[in-house]
């Protein structure tokens, strides 16, 4: 809990209230949710720097960062949602849906591509709101609700694309008005000191900063921790539980919209069958970064570190010239290790408090 406690003026100074105890900086550090993942990320970085030839080249690191950002943009809102105590299994295909809507709307209406981008944002947010609304109304577990949305979206992606375009991928919109400027926003490459960096890295860092600010500095952030920690207690003290959860799902939808537009404007055509399975990768990144499955604990920075771990591992294996068949094994082992480390650090931090 990061609720701010206001000291009343007439409090006797002698009584040592545990809420206003000065904690040492080290202890503060130890109780950070992302500590375990930072240690893990450093270890993985050093490991690949030693074994993988060319891993430390600037261009290689930029590729690693790009790979991390494509996961990280989604891992941030998914982490927030998990801190709020819920799941979203539809996040992976929602990215593809968002790209498909944007592309097909622009093409079929022969509209400026920015119109498609706007429509896509509205529809994607509506799907997020639908998830949140169904959850708060039906009281069913989010696992079930979003599993249903996931399946429906997968079918809609394929069905609509086949129905409208006659094939399984969208038609090109690269020659339409607004495409160059949209590409600049969502999928451009920035050259810094002779090294090319993808713009998604900026989006990612921006989202991490925004989410951290919301979590740690705003009332909404306290609400997120509260509904994830104990929903009924939160409701009893006047936290708008339903609104918070719907907002969190819409946050995931917003992330999916950014990722989807990036897909569309970097590749110009979208495959309708993609995105399935990515939702688990977002969840893995959030969990490695210190989010608890039970909610009420975690951080946005942690999710970024989790995504970075994922990016480093998936590309590091290539740089190290290993057989990629083992990648999933490493990922699973990393997930377990990171989670164990998180649990251990958390226990130590609580024991010495």
């Amino acid at each position: 809990m990061s609720a701010t406690v206001e000291k009343t003026a007439d409090e006797p100074p002698k009584t040592a209230d545990e809420r206003i105890l000065q904690t040492s900086p080290l202890k503060k550090l130890l109780s950070r949710p992302e500590l375990g993942s930072v240690v893990g990320a450093l270890a993985v970085f050093v490991f690949f720097a030693v074994v993988a030839d060319g891993f430390l080249n600037a261009s290689s690191l930029s590729t690693v960062l790009y790979a991390s950002s494509t996961i990280g943009i989604m891992a941030v809102p998914v982490a927030l949602l998990m801190i709020g105590g819920e799941f979203d299994l539809s996040a992976g295909v929602l990215v593809t849906s968002s790209a498909l809507i944007s592309s097909m709307f622009s093409y079929q209406m022969t509209a400026n591509t920015w119109v498609g981008v706007g429509v896509s944002l509205l529809v994607t947010l509506a799907v997020g709101a639908f998830n949140g609304f169904m959850l708060t109304r039906t009281r069913l577990p989010s696992f079930i609700i979003t599993l249903g949305t996931f399946l429906m979206l997968t079918g809609l992606n394929l069905g609509f694309t086949k129905l409208i375009d006659g094939t399984v991928s969208t038609k090109t919109i690269g020659d339409m008005e607004g495409f160059p400027s949209a590409r600049a926003v969502f999928a451009s490459t920035l050259s810094i000191g002779g090294v090319d960096f993808k713009v998604t890295i900026l989006w990612w860092l921006g989202l991490v900063a925004l989410a951290s600010w919301i979590l740690l500095r705003t009332r909404a952030g306290n609400w997120i921790f509260a509904v994830g920690g104990n929903q009924d207690a939160a409701r009893a003290v006047g936290v708008p539980v339903a609104a918070t959860k719907i907002g969190l799902y819409m946050g995931v939808a917003f992330g999916a919209w950014i990722s989807g537009q990036h897909l569309l404007f970097s590749f110009d055509a979208v495959q309708s069958g993609e995105g399935v399975g990515n939702e688990l990768i977002y969840i893995i990144a959030a969990v490695i970064g210190g989010c608890l499955i039970t909610g009420g604990y975690g951080s946005a920075i942690g999710s970024a570190v989790g995504a970075l771990l994922f990016g480093m591992t998936s590309k590091g294996i290539v740089f190290a010239e290993w057989n990629p068949d083992w990648f999933k094994f490493f990922l699973g082992a990393m997930l377990l290790l990171a989670t164990l480390l998180n649990a251990w650090v958390k226990k130590r931090a609580e024991a010495t408090a």
Binding site: L158, T167, S169, E274, S314, K315
Partner: protein
């Protein structure tokens, strides 16, 4: 405790005597070792520098077809003194990132598949900017040249489909079912459309979930039960042919099962007459030729195909040729 020990000893001796006295005189690891001993010996046949070639495909995890492509590529790599790297991802964005990683590594040549051409465009351009020659294999014959690749090696899916349609006509079929096991794969759509183009009967498409075999079987079964007039089923991958055979048996249908691509099981079933015919695109060649052509380009500036795709298929395989292929499919090269 003592009793437990007695039982353990009895169980152990039993297991040992069973394993010793129950050797199979056919198949198994021993037969495989014998085959390997008889296979091509790996030794570089050239004295060019040790170049590094990376192959990046759109294959999912654990795919038979891509194992055969890899086998071809690896054998050519040994012969040409090449350090061969393989990576794959069925997600377009991930595949593009793997190509980026290969460019970062400054490899000497890249072999890739263009199943999702739009997603690969930027990555291929980046490779060319870095001066790395690119050869495309298997999919993307239309885009390969436009992207600036040296050559494309593979099968034109539409032509392959047309060959299947002709063969079905030859066999006097009237109503065929095309089983697509990967929704969203453009190449698969082209195959079925190719069949429809030349086939004089009616062709229906059936979409199944290829990652779930029981599901594939029940879907085909239901279709065959619902429509008794279907007289041939065309599957788009070797592992699905066997599943279709099982579905046909359970549904009590008379349909003939035909398939794209080969594996050991398909070869055996062609031989026994369980399957009608297979259309092969010779994946071994796709891997082998890609590595070999890159080598020839690096060594001698040679390019094959004259700007047109180098076709490795379709090759229609029926009962007559199946016997000769059994040995090759066993060792994973056909």
């Amino acid at each position: 405790m003592a009793r437990f020990r007695t039982w353990a000893v009895i169980a152990l001796t039993g297991a040992l005597s069973l394993s010793l006295g129950a050797c199979s005189s056919t198949g198994g690891k021993r037969a495989e070792d014998a085959r390997n001993a008889a296979a091509a010996q790996g030794r570089a046949a050239v004295n060019t520098p040790r170049w590094t070639f990376a192959m990046i495909t759109h294959s999912g995890d654990g795919d038979t077809f891509w194992d055969i492509v890899q086998n071809g590529a690896k054998q050519a790599a040994v012969k040409d003194n090449i350090n061969f790297l393989y990576s794959h991802d069925d997600d377009a964005q991930q595949q593009a990132q793997l190509v980026d990683a290969a460019v970062d590594k400054k490899v000497d040549g890249i072999i890739l598949t263009l199943a999702k051409p739009d997603a690969m465009k930027a990555a291929v351009a980046r490779a060319e900017k870095a001066g790395i020659p690119v050869i495309t294999v298997n999919s993307g014959s239309e885009e390969s040249k436009a992207f600036g690749a040296l050559a494309h090696i593979g099968q034109d899916e539409t032509i392959a489909g047309e060959a299947v349609g002709d063969e079905l006509n030859k066999r006097g079929k009237k109503k065929a079912l095309c089983v697509l096991h990967e929704q969203g794969n453009v190449g698969h759509e082209q195959r079925c459309d190719g069949v429809a183009k030349t086939f004089r009967g009616t062709l229906q498409k059936l979409y199944v979930n290829g990652t779930n075999m029981p599901d594939v079987q029940s879907a085909i079964e239901a279709k065959l039960q619902a429509d008794r007039s279907i007289d041939s089923v065309v599957t788009l991958g070797a592992p699905y042919a066997d599943t279709a055979v099982k579905a046909k048996g359970d549904a009590g249908s008379k349909a003939e099962i035909d398939t794209f691509d080969l594996n050991a099981q398909v070869a055996a079933e062609l031989k026994s007459g369980t399957l009608g015919f297979a259309v092969d695109q010779q994946p071994y060649l796709q891997g082998y030729e890609a590595v070999d052509l890159l080598w020839a380009y690096k060594y001698n500036g040679d390019v094959l195909g004259g700007g047109k795709p180098v076709l490795t298929g379709p090759q229609i395989i029926t009962k007559d040729q199946a016997a000769a292929l059994a040995e090759y499919t066993e060792r994973g090269t056909r």
